[in-house]
């Protein structure tokens, strides 16, 4: 097996009474409109992809695009109509109920858009809930929950009830709860969508800090393209149940695969997404300036320095070897030029 933690092979989810039969007749070529006429709604349409260990895949799509359904297929909160899903090589759809529960108790954590906290339990009890469900002793689970509360910055509020917390704090509890069993796989379903913009930004930064530390395998759902760009290793863009494009943020911005994807990328400030390596040219013998920049820098962060130069700037990799060059004019072109007419 590969090192893919999550692996999907042509996963379909179709809602409706005759879904299975109709899918067989369609032979894999599902037309959402034709299905809708027959009373079936297509949630996920032929999704195939892999997520490898420690990677963060962000699934982006507008409401009704099937992104949440896809996530629920992979966490098996709903059963996929057809296709194969492997979690660390295990065939998810063939698991018995008991095995599924075991898997969730040990390997999976999930965060929800509306927080989904239990209203009758305190912050600590909510965080300790999955541990207690597993059968851990109350004292041990509470100690573990205390650590988790500290990790997400909820010290001093351990004995509050969810109703006494702000939205951002409630989601911190949700995050702590999903991490309490130390899962390998972390599902987040629009975790920050219900928060107001300032808190959202704060939580995104916090989330990146956590991921830096924990290195989980993550599937993150959002309808916010900027959020996807900011967080993702790779982005999957969904429309009507179909994954339109799955690639790194830079490649999506530079080469949108379909018209639909292009519409999202048009307004994106490139300098915030692209790295130097995305715009550099092959090293040649021309006269370089003294400045060197790393190929992993985001353009925005080094643009000012580069623009003070007249000659091309050398681009280095981690071992300080020159791997390419960037001319200031390329930076100007990227930042100001190439919005609508760059192809």
């Amino acid at each position: 097996m590969t090192d893919a933690v999550i692996k999907c092979e042509s996963v379909y989810k179709i809602f409706g009474v005759n879904a299975k039969k109709m899918l067989q007749e369609a032979n894999g070529n599902v037309d959402a409109k034709a299905f809708q006429k027959m009373g079936c709604i297509v949630g996920v349409n032929n999704a195939s992809f892999e997520v490898s260990k420690g990677e963060m895949l962000v699934v982006m799509g507008l409401s009704g695009s099937g992104k949440s359904t896809l996530l629920r297929c992979i966490s098996r909160l709903t059963d996929a109509t057809d296709g194969k899903i492997y979690i660390e090589g295990q065939d998810l759809l063939s698991l018995k109920n008991k095995e599924l529960i075991e898997l969730r108790r040990n390997k999976m954590g999930m965060v929800f858009q509306s927080f989904a906290l239990l209203p009758h339990k305190t912050v600590l009890e909510n965080i300790a809930f999955p541990l207690q469900i597993k059968g851990m002793k109350t004292e041990d689970s509470i100690n573990k929950a205390l650590d988790m509360a500290k990790l997400v910055g909820l010290e001093g509020r351990e004995n509050y009830f969810p109703r006494e917390l702000s939205g951002g704090q409630q989601q911190r509890v949700g995050i702590a709860r999903s991490l309490a069993v130390e899962p390998d796989i972390w599902f987040l379903d629009e975790p920050f969508s219900a928060l107001d913009p300032l808190i959202r930004k704060e939580m995104q930064d916090e989330f990146l800090r956590l991921q830096e530390k924990l290195k989980k395998t993550i599937m993150f759902i959002t309808h916010d393209f900027d959020e996807a760009l900011k967080l993702a290793d790779r982005i999957a863009i969904m429309k009507d149940g179909i994954i339109e494009q799955l690639d790194t943020p830079a490649k999506i911005v530079l080469n949108p695969a379909t018209e639909y994807v292009k519409k999202f990328t048009e307004e994106v400030p490139r300098e915030k997404v692209l790295k130097i390596e995305d715009v550099m040219e092959k090293p040649n013998k021309e006269n370089l300036s003294d400045l060197k920049v790393s190929k992993d820098e985001i353009i925005e962060n080094v643009a000012e320095k580069i623009l003070t130069q007249e000659k091309s700037v050398a681009v280095t990799d981690a071992s300080n070897k020159i791997v390419g060059t960037v001319h200031p004019s390329k930076i100007i072109h990227t930042v100001f030029g190439g919005r609508k007419n760059n192809d």
């Binding site: 966490s75 999930m110 989904a116 239990l118 999955p130 109703r163 999903s178």
Partner: protein
């Protein structure tokens, strides 16, 4: 033509009315037709026709089929009754060990089952009753009468009233705070001082058995219905009928199965109280957000953990509102169940009403209403109470209420003991004030009633006569004048216009059942009384509701009044009207109007208050006057909700009309009351009850279908 296209429904209605009236005028009253009064049905008349079905002979007066349908379902009550008897006395005889005679005895299975249930119920009631009032029967259950005779000390002493009162006060304080605690104290002292302690505790012991059992069964069934669509589908029609069936009607078949007494009363109460509990459990569980359920599943809950640790705690409030409903039903049944021998306040109330002792009835009624209000407030406070965190409290803080109660028990016991020396020659007032030794204002109230009669007799009589001769009699005659075919056409046609074929079929089924039963005439009388009550109630309710919804203070006030009135057991309403109008149809109708106005008012207020504030603002910015806003914005939006109120009003009115049989009416209720004293009345009572339920369900179906459509149209659903 243009008009026809614009208002297609209007023309359908017009057409329906034309057909209805044409049928009414075309079909004459047969000369031999007359309204059959009570005794006539037992007389074998050579003019009667007969038919035999399933071996049951049915006798009836035959008319033109268009005028009255023949009672083709007349065999049903007899058949139900015979089946009950067969089940109870002949089906599946089995050997059972008899503890008393120490031998095996042959008994039918169902009889054995009902006897076992009866025995366990009786034991539970006696146990609680003796904890509250003292006695030896519980001890006997484990030993024998001989043993008791030898050991006279072995009996439960009964809690002194001071301890029960202190317990109630402490519990109220914990649930809600000072206000409710003071109220609880006042109620307890009132009960005690007015000598109602014993019947009150009898009623309470019956409720303390019925309510928890109803809760357990209702919760279990609700959870089952939530988990399985099939169970829900099977339960749904039963629930609908049970919610609209007059509680009276359930009495009769239960009496056949379980006999009379407190245990039968508990079983009846459970039958009536379980449906709302099921519905509210289902509602609460359905309302749990899907994300919370998913969070539970992702935490690795198995089904049992998901139900007990996630779903039920999250739906806690709705489930506790269900408990509140159960308690309220228990109280209204506490009086009705007195018909089959439940002891306590209800029994006293019924007895006093029977003797026309309005003063005594008023005291018992007041007492039962006060306890009902107290328990209503307590259970609501419990439902609304948020859990507190108490991990960081000291031992004393955590258990302070328990400690206080322990103290109260000690002090109460000391007082009661001291009392036995203090009141050596009379009764121990610190333990229990006997029924006839309390203060009583009964004479005062009776004098008041006499005074009212003496002073207003002429006025009331004139009003009474006018209402009966000028309004009620003609209305009743009109209803009876409708040929069956015309009525059925009207109902089914209305169903078709409102809800299409589906509604038409449902209403047709319901109305045909009544038309083919032997009681069509009676059902018409019931409907006429209910119609009168509903029209009056809705007029009053809509007006009062609309006026009160205009400002915050009056809204709060009127809702509080509705709350309190709704808490009164329905029988209590008969007391003041009998005081004023004696035993006439007017009394029943006024009770109906008062009782049924509650939902009409409440739903009007709620509907109007639920109009979104943004719409108010939009209206204000368009420059509407208050009246314009009411007519153009608030009424159209609130109307669907108000119609649900009308639906409730119809159910309430029918209930009260049926209870009115106790005063004396000539409708289905009278027959139900008669079936109570009829040995073979089980089937009859049940079918009569179903007839009443079906009348309500016809309206329920029409109104609900209309409301759903309207709400969809307005985008509210």
């Amino acid at each position: 033509m243009e008009l026809l296209k614009k208002y297609p429904k209007l023309f359908q209605w017009l057409f329906l009315l034309i057909v209805f009236f044409a049928l009414c005028f075309a079909i004459d009253v047969p000369e031999t037709y007359k309204f059959i009064r009570g005794q006539a049905e037992f007389i074998k008349d050579p003019n009667q026709s007969t038919y035999t079905l399933f071996g049951k002979e049915v006798r009836y007066y035959a008319f033109d089929v268009l005028w009255r349908l023949p009672p083709l379902l007349g065999w049903l009550p007899i058949w139900v009754n015979d089946s009950l008897f067969f089940l109870l006395n002949e089906w599946m005889p089995m050997e059972f060990w008899n503890e008393d005679t120490q031998e095996y005895k042959t008994r039918p299975l169902v009889l054995q089952i009902t006897r076992t249930i009866t025995a366990s119920m009786t034991f539970l009631i006696e146990l609680i009753r003796e904890i509250l009032l003292g006695g030896a029967k519980t001890v006997v259950a484990f030993t024998s009468w001989d043993w008791i005779d030898k050991n006279p000390w072995a009996e439960l002493p009964g809690l002194p009233w001071t301890i029960v009162a202190a317990g109630a006060v402490i519990l109220c304080y914990k649930l809600s705070g000072k206000g409710l605690a003071i109220f609880a104290g006042l109620v307890m002292v009132y009960i005690s001082v007015f000598g109602q302690w014993k019947p009150s505790m009898q009623t309470l012991s019956f409720i303390l058995v019925a309510a928890p059992l109803s809760f357990i069964f209702g919760l279990t069934l609700g959870v089952m219905a939530y988990k399985s669509k099939r169970v829900e589908k099977a339960l749904y029609p039963l629930l609908l009928v049970m919610q609209t069936m007059p509680q009276y009607a359930v009495l009769v078949p239960a009496m056949v199965l379980f006999g009379i007494g407190d245990h039968a009363a508990v079983i009846i109460t459970m039958v009536v109280a379980i449906p709302p509990m099921i519905l509210l459990t289902l509602l609460g569980l359905r309302a749990v957000s899907p994300e919370v359920i998913e969070a539970g599943k992702m935490s690795g809950c198995n089904n049992w953990q998901l139900m007990t640790k996630v779903l039920i705690p999250t739906a806690r409030r709705d489930i506790l509102i269900g408990v509140n409903q159960v308690i309220m039903v228990c109280f209204s049944m506490a009086v009705i169940a007195a018909f089959i021998g439940a002891k306590g306040l209800g029994w006293n109330l019924l007895l006093a009403l029977n003797q026309l002792n309005i003063g005594l009835a008023l005291e018992a009624g007041l007492c039962i209403s006060m306890i009902a209000i107290l328990l209503d407030k307590m259970s609501l406070a419990w439902a609304n109470k948020q859990e507190d965190y108490f991990g960081n409290l000291t031992f004393f803080q955590r258990y302070k209420n328990t400690l206080f109660f322990a103290g109260a028990v000690l002090i109460g016991a000391i007082f009661a003991y001291a009392g036995s020396f203090l009141f050596k020659d009379s009764f121990n007032y610190f333990s229990e004030i006997p029924h006839n030794k309390g203060i009583s204002f009964a004479d005062f109230w009776n004098k008041g009633v006499d005074w009212i009669w003496d002073t207003f007799f002429q006025t009331l009589k004139i009003f009474n006569t006018w209402l009966i001769t000028e309004v009620l009699q003609p209305m009743r005659a009109l209803y009876l004048r409708m040929p069956a075919v015309a009525t059925i056409t009207l109902v089914v046609g209305a169903g078709y216009i409102i809800g299409g074929i589906r509604s038409a079929l449902v209403t047709a089924g319901l109305v045909l059942f009544i038309a083919l039963s032997p009681w069509w005439d009676r059902a018409l009388v019931t409907t006429y009384m209910a119609t009168f009550g509903v029209i009056a109630s809705c007029t009053i309710g809509l007006t009062v509701g609309t006026l009160c919804a205009q400002n915050k203070f009056t809204t709060k006030f009127i809702l509080a009044v509705c709350d309190i009135f709704q808490t009164f057991p329905s029988f209590v309403y008969l007391i003041p009207v009998m005081m004023l109008f004696g035993i006439t149809d007017t009394s029943v109708l006024i009770a109906v109007i008062v009782y049924a106005t509650i939902p009409a008012t409440r739903y009007t207020v709620e509907g109007l208050r639920s109009v979104p504030p943004a719409l108010h603002d939009a209206g204000s910015m368009s420059g509407v006057t208050k009246l314009q806003r009411l007519i153009n914005i608030e009424f159209p939006i609130a109307f669907p909700h108000m119609m649900l109120g009308v639906n409730q009003t119809i159910v309430f009115a029918l209930f009260m009309v049926i209870i009115g049989a106790f005063i004396g009416t000539e409708d289905l209720g009278q027959y139900i009351l008669k079936a109570l004293s009829d040995k073979a009345g089980g089937g009859k009572g049940l079918i009569l009850g179903i007839c009443v339920a079906f009348i309500a369900l016809i309206f329920d179906n029409l109104i609900r279908t209309w409301v759903d459509k309207r709400k969809k149209h307005l985008g509210l659903a």
